[in-house]
Every structure is written in C-alpha cells, then in structure tokens.
Symmetry: C2
Subunit: 421 residues, 2 copies
C-alpha cells in the first residue's frame, strides 16, 4: 500500500445498495481524522503498519471509506463494501465492525452507534418467524399492549410452585408469563419438570378462560442443551422460548432460529449494559436491536424509559437523550425493513401499574409490558398484583385517569398507594 | 421477605467449597453498602421491591451474601450458593453474576473483577483438551515461545495466495499461522477452498522441514456452520480451529468443545474491549480468561503488554495496573486449577521483532507470540519478516542482545531499523 492510500475520502458518495454503513462516536488524543483512519483500517483490511502484502487493487476494491466526519459531535461514518462480509453471519459482522477497534491504542473512547445494511445483506437473514402480527394473532389480542409477568423470586420456587403460581396469574388475565434470566434448570426446579407442570396447568386455564396464553421458557444454555430444551417445549405444546442473547451469544441465537421450530423466540438482554451503558464507548442498544431482528428474535427487551433499568440516576440533561435512544430502538424494531417481519418490543424492569399510562403514552400500544416485582410485590399478593396490572391497562384503554379508575378497582388502588410514582 | 433480611452480612465466612465468590468494583450516588445490597439481590433472588413470594427459608438458603466491603477501594465481595447455578453452563453463570446488575439505576459504575469457583463447579466443565502440554507435544517445541503469524491483509488474499504465502512463511521457521478475526468464508477466499489449499501445501512443507506446523482456521459463524467447518478441518487433517469467543458467544464456544473433535481450539477475543477496557465498568479480562479455561479453549489471546492493543495511550500511572492485570491473566491461565489443563496464552497485536526481548522478559517462555503487521510489514516482504521474527527469538534464547544479534542477521537488522521501539 502506498502512502497516498487513505481510508478517509470525504468526497466519497456511499452506495447504500452495496455497502454496510457504520456510524461511530470516537475520542482520541489525536485528531478525529487519524482516529477514523485507524478504525476504518482495523475493521476492514489494514493494521498498525504498512503491509507489503496489501496491493493497491485490493485497497481500492475492499478498503473501507470514511465518507463523513463531524468534528463538532465526534461522529464519523464508514462505508464497507459488502465483499468484506459473510452473508447471514452476525458473528463475522461483529468481529469486523465491533471487534479489535475497541482495543486500539489510538482509541480513548469509541462507540458503534448504528449500522445500516443494504437490502441484499438483510435478505441473507431469516428475521422473525412470528413477529408482531404473528404473536398478536396467536393471542388474539390486537388492540392493547400485551400484559406480561416475570416469575419472582428469580430463583427459589420449585417447579410445582412455579406452575401453580403461573396458572393463578394467567387466570387473572395476564397474557404472557416468563422465566427470569438466571432460571434455567436448577436442582429444585428442573427445566423438564417446569415445562411439564406449567404446560399442563396452562392448558386448563386456557380452557377455563377461553383465552390463549404464552409461557416463556428460558432455554439459555450451551447450544445442544438449548436446542434440546427448545424441542421439548415444542413437543409438549409450548409456544415460546427465551434466550439471554448476550450470555449465549449471537452464534447460538442464530442457530436457535435456524432450527425453525416455529416457537416464538423471546430475546432477553441480560448483560448488555456492560457495553451499551457508556454513551461514549461500546455498542449502542440500537445496534443490538437491529442484530436481534436479523437473527430472528420475535420479541425483544429494549428500553423501558420509566422503569428500574435506565440511567435515571445520571444527570438530568441526559434523560432526553435516553428517551430519544429508546424511541429509536422501538421505531426500528417496528418499521418496514426489507422483507423481515417487525419485532415486538418488550418493556421490562421495575414496572408497576402506576407507570403504565406514561409508558403507553411514550411507547404506544404495540409492545409487551412486563411486571415482575411490580406484580409479585403487591401487598395483597401475586393474584391481586395481576389484577392491578390488568386494571392499569384497562384505565388507559378506556381513557380514564388511573387514579380515577382506582376508585372502583381496589387492587389498583392498593398498588398506586404502595408504589409512589 | 422481612425488612430484616439483608444480603449484607459482613460477619459471614464464605464457604469456598460450596459457593461462587465474585469480586466487584462499584460506584453509585449512594453508599457502597446500598449498592452491594442491590447487586447481590439482582444477581441472585431479589429485585427492586419486596416480594410477597420470597420466603425467609428461600432467602436463607439461596440469598447471596456480601461478606467483604472495602470502601476505600470501592470493592465488595459476594458469596453465591452453588444451588443458584446450573453446572457446566457459562451462559447461565453470566446471566446471573454478569447480567442485569450492569443496568440497575443504583449503579454509576460496576465492574466484575474476578470470579472464584469451588472445585466441584470447575469439574462440571471439560477444560482444554490439549492445553499447553498437548500443544507443545504436537509441535515438538518445548524450550521457547511458539512463533505465530497472522495472515495479512486481514481480508484480501485469495485462497490460493493465502495458501502459498502460508507455505512460504512456514518454510522460514514459523510454527503457527492463523486467519485473522474477520476472515471466515468470503467470495474470493471460501473457507473450504482455503482449508484444502493450505493443508495440501502445509503437508509438503512439514515433510520438507521435518517440523510440525499448525494452521489456525477461523470457524467463527452461526453454530451449525461453525461445527461443519470444524469437522471439515478435522477430516482434511488439520489440527486447529479458531473462534472469536465474544462474537459467537459462550453458548457456541462450549458447543465446539463438547463436540470433542480433538482439534486445538484457539480463542480470539475480538470485541472484548467494548466491555473490558473501562477499568470501572464492565467485566475484566481476568474473568474472560477464566471462562475460556472452563469452556475448553486451548490457547487464548490475552494481554500483550507491549503491543498495539493495550491502553498505553492513557495516563502513565495506569500502565503499572495494566501490566499487573496482564500478569494476573497469564498466571491464572497457567496455574493448576482443579483437574483442568492450563491454557497457553497468546500475545497478539502490534508485535514486531524489536519488542520480543521485553515481551519474553515480562511474560516468560510459555506463550505464543503472534506477528501480523510486524512480519508482513517487513520492508523486504513476508518471508524476510518471518526470518526476522525467528531471529528475534533466537537472540533471546541465546542470551544475546537483540541489536548485537542483528549485526549478523540482516533481516532482523532491517526490522529493528524500520520499527522503532
């Protein structure tokens, strides 16, 4: 490679049909030009020193191009030729645009903010099997948020207790109940026992209520075990499995989808904040949401805005940014995207009935609202907690102020008094 | 759970045979006591509010216990009963001690610094099949670092060029050559073609030199494709495959080991710095190194100390910490650990012949030293670069100062003049 070959080509017009576009936030002790040059090299065909083995022809054909540089905001955009990528492989994509670059000496802070894919790259992925429409059809719930519940304590119930409590909560109107992220198969609550017992009682409650219900079984495990468990759920008539996408990794998530078991795949994101939380370094939730859609997750945990999990403890001025980020994720999960079905976003973490009006106002109706502590923590117990959750959504649907609705709905009243908001 | 139940129990003496011990660095706007309380709850059986479903008995049996709190250094240690964990599952472990905790409102910064496992937990994992001893035996190289080369450019050579260049580099004395992290199967260098062509020429060069060689094929991909490719390598007589452990994820890495193909598993860590680099938030490399050992990685990329990848750009005062961290990782990979074989550490990234004496002085002989740009960037080309790399290690082995040795070794001389150190 001759000295004149540079990745920085601000006059370049990217080809959105043939290139992957990555947007980075970056800080270094040098200039943004130098930083972007090193990021573009390391994530495509270059390294820290000139190579005798890198020809001009290869540089022209495969080199990444920095076509936009915003020094005021420390943002740069890189166009990568599709030839650098193996189609249908999230791991290979991440090893390139989300790989060594975070380790480079030149980097003080670096964040992968967004990735935009050409249609032909998107089409090399299956996307969700069910998506929003499929899930709503399965539940026969079209005109309101889907009401979810997380079993609590995360770990501690026996498989029998788990099944009985799930059945009671279903009977009180909840649509979907899920295992928590660290409950897989434990000595006192073996996966197989839980599936059998939960599904048996679920069938009864579905018959009794004449409503369809979804139980989300957590199959997070080394891959062969994960697939074995997913097949068991399918065999016994279950409708949905959950994976912790960060803990098992994208190679495993893609494999679960590839098996085409026609189960709803519920994506939990435990651990994401190790690298998404710092707004200056790591990878954004927006990128993760896009990867989830490619991989074929049907419903995915994304920002809760008002719940326990986002950075409300930080400076007030950052809250608007967080809100905006949450919005961006939700929007991209729902919009049209080549031929891939839209994912249903899940708001989960720290939610209780009092937060529902604000949540729906911000995020709309097209989501799952999960209640965990905000249901099992109800002073009158889990069943009353389920009713309070349902009532909070009824109030919103009817356009009645939640405190007004609580006057005639005692469980909601107790919840609103108990959890300040 | 009654108000009196607290996870903070500083009088508690942990049981190292029955509990997993996690060490955290933490910062919040409140006290360290409050933060540790929330971390211990969220990573075991608690949540943000009291639960009517959490009994005292379960709290006593399954609750995590904070048994150490160092306010000066913001460090706390938590003991988790083994019953909280599914044996042999890294994803389940991470969903617990490396999961939601990073997202909590109470957290300003949180870093999982270390995990210590009881022997009975460690024994639920296979560990490396080959380990240090097996790899050295395979190569018949016992008394010096193993000399590795990364093919460069990362992407751009055809499968034929790739095989020919690898053969020439092997012929000049290099022990091990590897694909780079983003080269998997691309239109001009298909995985199958590369394996066939490389292995064919490798056999010839092994015969000619009477030395054993290792080519590291990158099988990073969605799981079934990854396994298919690993089986092809095995079938065609290869000895080693590489996975980008962060990009494919631990569920996939564990599956590769479980297949027991008796291939050396080479662990690349592209992307780790998205969450390991910040010394106050995320997960430490030490933890990743331990997970790699459990999963059964035989040789693993860890700190290079002197290379391109560590944070030498940061304040001088942090360098000693970095050095110490590198040391810790290397030590733990090599020490005795229940019955699991030790992993061979790999120093990789920005290395060139001039850095070798310092590297060996710091890290010892028991490692792979990878040269990428520091070989293919040699002004006289890759073959001369390979000879310069070999010569740098010969100098160290013979106890001759590298500049002295360069006087009679022209390729080394050129390298030392070209790359300042």
């Amino acid at each position: 490679m001759k000295e004149k070959n540079k990745y920085l080509q601000l006059e370049y017009k990217p080809n959105y049909q043939e290139e992957i576009i990555a947007t980075f936030y970056g800080e270094s002790n040098g200039s943004l030009e130098e930083l972007s040059e090193q990021v573009a090299g390391e994530s495509s065909i270059g390294t820290w020193t000139k190579l005798t083995t890198l020809s001009d022809e290869v540089f022209q054909r495969l080199g990444a191009r920095i076509f936009s540089l915003d020094k005021k905001n420390n943002i740069f955009k890189i166009a990568y030729p599709l030839s650098l990528f193996e189609k249908g492989s999230i791991p290979q994509l991440l090893s390139s645009v989300g790989g060594n670059i975070f380790s480079m000496k030149a980097v003080k802070n670096l964040r992968l903010e967004n990735i935009e894919f050409p249609e032909k790259y998107i089409k090399s992925y299956p996307g969700p099997y069910w998506g929003i429409e499929g899930i709503r059809k399965m539940l026969n719930v079209y005109d309101r948020p889907i009401i979810g519940c997380i079993m609590k304590p995360k770990i501690g119930l026996t498989s029998k207790q788990n099944a009985q409590m799930a059945s009671q909560i279903f009977a009180n109107g909840v649509d979907l109940i899920k295992d928590d992220e660290n409950l897989t198969s434990l000595s006192f609550n073996k996966f197989e026992d839980r599936v059998k017992k939960v599904l048996e009682l679920k069938k009864k409650v579905e018959k009794k209520t004449n409503q369809k219900k979804i139980y989300v079984f957590n199959v997070t495990a080394p891959v062969s075990l994960m697939l074995e468990r997913a097949r068991l759920v399918k065999k016994l008539g279950g409708r949905c499995v959950m994976v912790d996408v960060i803990s098992v990794g994208w190679g495993a998530v893609q494999e679960l989808r590839r098996q085409n078991l026609k189960l709803i795949i519920h994506g939990h994101r435990a651990g994401h904040s190790a690298f998404t939380r710092n707004k200056k370094h790591g990878i954004s939730m927006l990128v993760l949401a896009n990867l989830a859609r490619l991989a074929g997750i049907d419903q995915f945990h994304t920002g809760t805005v008002v719940g326990k999990m986002e950075g409300g403890e930080e400076e007030v001025c950052s809250i608007n940014d967080l809100l905006r980020e949450d919005w961006r994720e939700f929007d991209q999960l729902r919009e049209n995207w080549a031929s891939l079905k839209p994912i249903l976003p899940i708001a989960s973490g720290g939610l209780h009935p009092g937060l529902v009006p604000q949540l729906v106002e911000i995020l709309g109706q097209n989501l799952v609202i999960n209640f965990g502590g905000g249901l099992h923590g109800h002073p009158q117990g889990s069943e009353a907690g389920a009713r309070a959750a349902i009532q909070s959504i009824e109030a919103v649907q009817k356009g009645i102020k939640i405190k007004e609705y609580a006057k005639t709905h005692p469980e909601l009243k107790v919840a609103l008094n108990y959890w300040k908001f």
